[in-house]
Every structure is written in structure tokens, then in C-alpha cells.
Amino acid sequence: MTLTAGARFVIAIATIPAIGAWTLALLPRRCIKSWPVAIVVTALAGWLTIAAEMAVLAVAGVPWTIGALVILPVAGALVTVWRFGRSAEFKNWRWNPCISVGIAMTCCFLVLAAYAALTSRATSTDYLLFWGTKGARFAAARTVDLRFLRDPDHYFMHPDYPPLLPLLYSWGALVAGRFPWGAALVTFPWFIALAVLTYSAGVKRAVSAWVAGMLTACFAGLLALTLVVKTTAGNADPPLILFETVALSIVSFWPPDTVAEWCAGIALAGGAMTKVEGLFFAGLLVIATAVFERTAGQRWRTIYRLAIPPVVAIAGWVIFCIRSQILSTYNGAANGKFIIGHLWTVLTQMGREAGFQVFYLPWVILVLLVILLKPRVTTAACWTGIGYLLVNIWFYLHGTDDPTLWVRWSAGRTLITVLVCGIFAVSVPRLRPQARAEHASPD
């Protein structure tokens, strides 16, 4: 019985790219020229499509059913197949591995991440306390269960936390017949693999094929290792990192392009709808991209393309929360007063968590890569990472009488975003954006 439900959940996740296949018919052909990019785009589009449908049905008061959720995406996928079936375009898509050592090591790290998750070595308690619980409860109620969220006894489940991950879990649970807690951990390596594919597709535009392969393996290894050490399986951190990776990859490696920038904006919206921290990341990346990656003439257009999707998404969610009387996090009710006297405690605890229980290896590697690759300092990735670190410190200074527990609980996970920004920062070419546009190679 468990195996059946688990297998069905895995099938539900595996069908997500098919649900998002309709986007291939809409996006300009210059945007997708390889299988890795197509897989990432359709997977994320599929997830966002299902979540948007669930949200619309919940607001309309219509119970979720598998048929109602898949009918439009299936129609869109059929149109896409019909269009591509008539052209030989997709036959030209390439799967062009950089080099065997890099690919082999990347696969090895992904297998280790999957093994760690499925043998319960990386399970987060937040998964048990609210991320998975919300998914299971929403699926059982076949809607965003407001009676459940409004219950005062469930206040510590953070009723107004962004719902994107619980909606994905609910989709899987609807197909599975119930929420299979063990099998749902398969999403952990899935998120990491998509992030690695995204980074891989971008970085080979910036550096030589061999270096790109090695950097991809480093990215996969460091991401998987830190996410496992910080026990984030089932938690919202892996999907947040995935959305951050997509946005960072577009602004760091792609030349300025209208469609690409809208896609980065949608990825930032995905991050903001996955975890509260995603909103701050979006704000920082928008500012840093406008300042460091764009010329004066491009700046404002980039800002609104990147900023509008997350602002609209979060505004919609906050309005829903206000109308449903579940708003708590976004009105700042959970924040204490600012206490600068906690700075030393916060910094020392963050420094301790930064070790990731692996003797600061990720940061040592980052320093080695900086020395080796001599990257440009004025990049969006670099300054987004620095800004994100400072924003986290600022938040920790709004804690309770002793912020130690809070910092220990969360700092290790938030530092993974800083680490990812660091890896992007060392990978970004030394060319300025204008020169990069001229040198850009197709993926």
C-alpha cells in the first residue's frame, strides 16, 4: 500500500514537466535550444501551472480534482506536440555534456543527495511540523484549508507562509491517494538536479567547456552537501535555492533579453512564493542586477521586468491572507524590537553555523576558486550574496531576548543562499555585460 502511494507520488512529480510543456509553444525559439533548458523550463512551468490552478480553484470554492487540474495543461501539451511534431526544430536540441569527469562527479553528487534523502539522513523537522503537514491537509480537504489555517492551535505552522511547496505536495498526494511522507522526499534530489541543470546550461556560456564541467560538479557537490548537512529534505530551502539559481543564472550568464528577464522575474516570484526569504532575495537581486549588470538605458526596463512578477504574486497572496484572516508573518507581528547589543551573539553563532559541520570546506573552496578564476567583483551575484547576508543579520537583531536558538536553527540554511551567490560570483565572466552580449554563444 505504501509502495503504491509512494510510486504514484513519484509519477505525479515525474509528470510535472509534461504539465508545463505548453510553455514550449509560447516561448521564442531563441530561448530554448537544448534539452537541459527545456527540462528546467517545463518542470518549473508545470509546477507553477498546477499551483496557479489550485489557487484559482481554492478561491472559487471548487474542490481540487486531478481531472480539473490536468485538463488545460494536457490540452496545451497536445498543441505543443502538434506544433513541434510538424517541425524538426526539437531534433536540433542538443544535450552537450561538457566533459566526462565533470558529468561523472555531478551525477555522483546527485546520487549521494538522493541516497541521503531517501534513507532519511537529511529530513527536516519543519517538513513534519508544517511543510508536509500543510500539503497533506490541503490534499485531504481538496482546497487551501482555511479552517485548518485559522485554527489558533496551528499558529506555529505559520498559516501565511507562502504556499507553493505545500501545493506541490498536495498535487502529489491527490495522485497518490494520500501523502506518502517517505516518497515525497524524492523531491529533494529533483530540486537539486534542476538547479544543477540550470547552472550547467548557464555557466558554459561564460567559461570554457572543461571549466564549466568542473564548476558544475563543484556547484552540485557543494549544494547537495550543504543541503544534506543542514537537513533540509522536505523543507522549502531546496526549491527556494532552485528558483534563486534560475534567476541568478539568467542575470549572470544571459545577455540582456526581454523574454529572459521576464523568466527571471517569474523565477523570483516562484522563490517569493516558496519561502519568505525569497522576497528579500528578489529585492536584492533586482537592485544588484540594475546596478551592476545593466547600462543606464536598460536599467529601468530590467527593474520592472524582474520586479513585477514577485510583487504581483506576493501582493495576491497577502490580499488572500488578509481576506482569509490568516496574516501574521507579513505584517511583522513575529518581529521583536531591534537590539544592536545582540550583534556579537548573532555574528558568533552565524560564524559557527557557517562551518556546515564540514570544517568550513565550502568557503575554503570558494576562496580557492576566487584565486584561480579571478572573477569580476562588481556582479549582481556577488552583491546579492553580500546584501542577503546583511539582511539576515538585520533580521536576527530583531529577535527575542536571546537570538542564539533562532540563529542556530536557521542561519545554516540561509547561508546556503549566500554560498550559491558566491559560486555564481566566481563563475561570472570577466567581460562586462555589453561585451558579453557580443560574445554570447548559444546554449
Partner: protein, 146 residues
Amino acid sequence: MRKTQTERFVFYGVLLSILGMFIWEIQRSGPLQISMPPTILSYSAPGNRGLAPYLVFLARIRQSLPPQSTVIVETAAGYGSFPSSDYLIAVGQLPDQRVLPPPEHKIQLGIPAGIQFIATYHVNISSPRLRLVADLPNGQLYKVSP
């Protein structure tokens, strides 16, 4: 950019160090095995592993509880000014049931109205209104008589 001996040395060293640390991390958290562990916390961080028997208990009582039934899971954590994590976990593990937080007083001092089942985990209670449904290694499941 052409690859140099230095690049080759640094990248291979970096990847081997990540691989070594990853394998070390995996083997220190539990025995290497191919089968699925009993619960999703069995080999998680040491502080979380204590919850594994509780998850097994909840999975067992779930099989005996009808859908939509109302249940209280009484644990040693009890119920103070806010619900314990034991309660929040039970809410997630029993999604087809209505799980209520334990009352502030001990169950045997009075069973709240509307409760159909009471599960006790490492807690002993007795009441003439309770009929044993399942006797499990770490606790019991009772049906409440009207």
C-alpha cells in the same frame, strides 16, 4: 580559457574533498543500507531521531482510526500555553482525522465532549469510558464510550 595544470590540480582536489566529506557525512549519520528506513527521521540529525518511535506509533494508530473521526493524542509533552510539537506532528500524520490538542488537565480528570478516540503515547490513563482498541509497544488507542 585553456585548462592549465594548476586548474586541473585545484578542481580535482576540490571535487575529491567534497566527495570525501559527503561520504563521511553519510556514513556518520547511520549504517549504509539499500532498504528504506522505518521512518523519515530514523537517521536524521541526532536531536530528531527520538521522534522516530512516535512516527511509528502514529502510523499504527492511523490504521485503526476511521476517516473524519475526532482524536486526541496524549503524550508526555502535554499541553501548556501553546501546542507541543507532538501535537503538530500528529496533525500532519493523521490528515484524514480531526486531531485536537490534549486538554490542559489530565484526560482521566474528564474527557472533553465530542472526542471519539484517545491515543496515549508513553502516558497511562484509565477511565470507565475508555475501551481499548489497540495495545501498541509505546502506547494505546482507546475508543471513547458516549
